[in-house]
């Protein structure tokens, strides 16, 4: 899409129409003393100086190229093949804008359609939208959609305590003022049975995560039983999942999920603080008119040629205004394109390999750590690439030792969100972690178990 600034002649003709002589007159309502405040800015720098300054600032971070990382908890270090950046950097694609005009956006629309198609295959669902902002907002959209599907007659959302804590926070802020009740995560120990017991005539949706926030896997049978019980109570089931895990595991569509959400950055989008990430949102076709976000569809034009359009856009805010199914109609087009490029590059077998490597390496790490004095791998369920380790000392202290002595970014400190687990960290291992890194982690954890003896060296 093009951006063409106004010419001086155009500006003049517009000013004439609205009857002003000077652009400054537009700001007449802003008090003069705050109109052009003095900004206390440093002196301008040359491009060279700016690059040096930014490099120095960036160098203060511990980055994933130089440090071994075992941190996951929602943001995962998976390999991004070079082809992904090559594809998304093409000028025709490199825009954050939504393709409103099919007549000039066929390439972008086709890419979105292919993203949707591949994610539909991955999740086992019938419809996938063109994406939401991130995994957290996708969960919130699932709640809104379920309430709409049930015509606002049911307004309670039951969430599992093992759904990502930040997703639960976003769910609550996002749905403020919508008269929804969100329950289920009051007790860390609320399992599927407890969640089912909480379902009543007002329950619109049950949201669980699989693999869950603490890494644990629920078997397809457990998930199917949950889906059946939730449906028997007249509610829908949403499953938040990890797209990488779906390279290996049965998709939620196969065990009765009505809505599937995921943090999609793991597909070809790098880990970065604050995103941009990718909200995957998939659902059953029968709910399509209550779904949020853009849907790209394939059609045939008057000449019988294949073409791509925004489908069912009457649901959306540019047409339905305040009655739109969602007031978030933006999507993460470029991130979704990266996911499509990644999935196309990896293929079914490549994705399975990534999942298998992550699974094997995580299990190797867990096995080694379990043998360390003072550490305990928690949980009796199978896990995928993350697991909880009970530690002999506060996690913050252990992580500091790992970082300073070994250049290792340690696991996620669970003590804030799951105080019941005591000093516990959530460790994540992916295909990016070499065997040597895992062995170093085990050694470092073993050393960190003992209170540190600080040697004062005087030179």
């Amino acid at each position: 899409m093009r951006y063409i600034p106004h010419t001086e002649a155009e500006r003049r003709s517009m000013m004439e129409v609205i009857g002003i002589q000077d652009i400054d007159e537009l700001f007449a309502d802003v008090p003069a003393d705050v109109r052009y405040p003095q900004l206390d800015l440093p002196q301008p720098m040359t491009e060279m100086e700016v690059m040096r300054e930014l490099d120095m600032m960036a160098a203060e971070n511990a980055n994933l190229r130089e440090f071994a990382s075992f941190l996951g908890a929602g943001a995962y270090n998976h390999f991004v093949p070079a082809i992904v950046d090559t594809v998304i950097s093409r000028g025709e694609f490199y825009t954050a804008y939504t393709p409103y005009q099919p007549e000039i956006s066929q390439g972008t629309l086709q890419a979105a359609f292919e993203y949707q198609s591949m994610v539909a295959a991955l999740t086992g669902m019938e419809v996938v939208n063109a994406s939401h902002y991130d995994g957290a907002t996708a969960v919130a959209e699932a709640a809104i959609m379920a309430v709409n599907v049930l015509r606002h007659k049911r307004r309670t959302i039951v969430v599992s305590p093992s759904l990502h804590p930040q997703y639960r926070q976003v769910l609550r802020t996002y749905t403020q003022g919508m008269e929804m009740k969100i329950v289920g995560d009051e007790l860390d120990g609320n399992d599927f049975h407890a969640l089912i017991d909480l379902c009543d005539k007002d329950t619109a949706l049950v949201i669980v995560q699989n693999p869950d926030f603490l890494g644990q896997l629920h078997t397809p049978q457990e998930m199917q039983d949950l889906a059946d019980a939730v449906h028997a109570k007249g509610a829908l089931l949403a499953v938040a999942t990890d797209p990488i895990a779906l390279g290996l595991l049965k998709p939620p569509g196969d065990y009765g999920a009505d809505i599937v959400t995921a943090e999609g950055h793991v597909l070809g989008n790098s880990v970065s603080f604050g995103g941009p990430y990718l909200g995957i949102f998939a659902f059953r076709k029968k709910y399509v008119r209550k779904s949020s976000g853009r849907l790209v569809g394939e059609t045939i034009d008057v000449d019988g040629k294949k073409g791509y359009v925004l489908t069912l856009s009457t649901r959306e805010q540019h047409i339905r205004r305040e009655k739109a199914t969602s007031n978030i109609c933006s999507n993460q087009a470029l991130n979704a394109l990266a996911a499509a490029a990644y999935l196309a590059a990896m293929g079914k077998h490549g994705l399975r390999k990534v999942a298998e490597l992550s699974w094997h390496k995580a299990h190797y790490a867990a096995q080694q750590i379990a043998q360390l004095d003072g550490y305990e791998v928690v949980g009796d369920k199978p896990f995928f690439k993350e697991f909880v380790v009970k530690c002999p000392r506060p996690v913050a202290e252990i992580n500091q030792y790992l970082l300073e002595e070994y250049g290792i970014i340690g696991g996620y400190d669970l003590s804030q969100e799951y105080p019941g687990l005591g000093d516990a960290m959530l460790l994540c291992v992916t295909e990016m972690n070499a065997r040597e890194e895992i062995d170093d982690l085990v050694t470092a954890l073993g050393e960190a178990a003992a209170p540190m003896i600080r040697l004062e060296v005087t030179l």
Binding site: R289, T314, I319, R320
Partner: protein, 130 residues
């Protein structure tokens, strides 16, 4: 094409038509409404048993151009919905006064008095901009 007006029906400013059959009120949308919406692709029906108040948005008619709420002109209980519209929503375009959408068992039939007759509705439409 001139728009049709059925003189036996009552009309709302929001383009629904209503016909009383005893204490049951049958509701659809006018020829004016279907013409303005153009090709109708989907009708979201209310549920039988829903308690509704006059003015509530109880159904949605979606066309290739827009999705419009259908308001019930009377209060009461939804007793029947036209499920044939699920498979053939286009019959509203073809026969707007035959293709009813839902039926309400009215709790107060006098609410119908607030609606216009065909002549008044035709005059009302003449004042609207196309």
């Amino acid at each position: 094409m001139t728009l049709k007006y059925d003189p036996t029906l009552k009309y709302a400013e929001t383009d629904e038509w209503a016909r009383a059959e005893g204490d049951i009120v049958v509701v659809g949308i006018s020829d004016y409404a279907q013409d303005a919406l153009s090709d109708i692709v989907y009708v979201e029906l209310p549920e039988v048993g829903d308690e509704v108040s006059a003015g509530d948005a109880v159904a949605t008619v979606e066309s290739v151009k827009a999705a419009s709420d259908i308001l019930t002109p009377v209060s009461g209980e939804i007793v029947e919905v036209n499920e044939a519209l699920d498979d053939a929503p286009e019959v509203i375009n073809e026969d707007p006064y035959g293709a009813w959408i839902f039926k309400v068992k009215a709790s107060d039939l006098s609410e119908l008095d607030k609606l216009m007759d065909a002549a008044a509705y035709e005059a009302f439409n003449a004042t609207r901009e196309h």
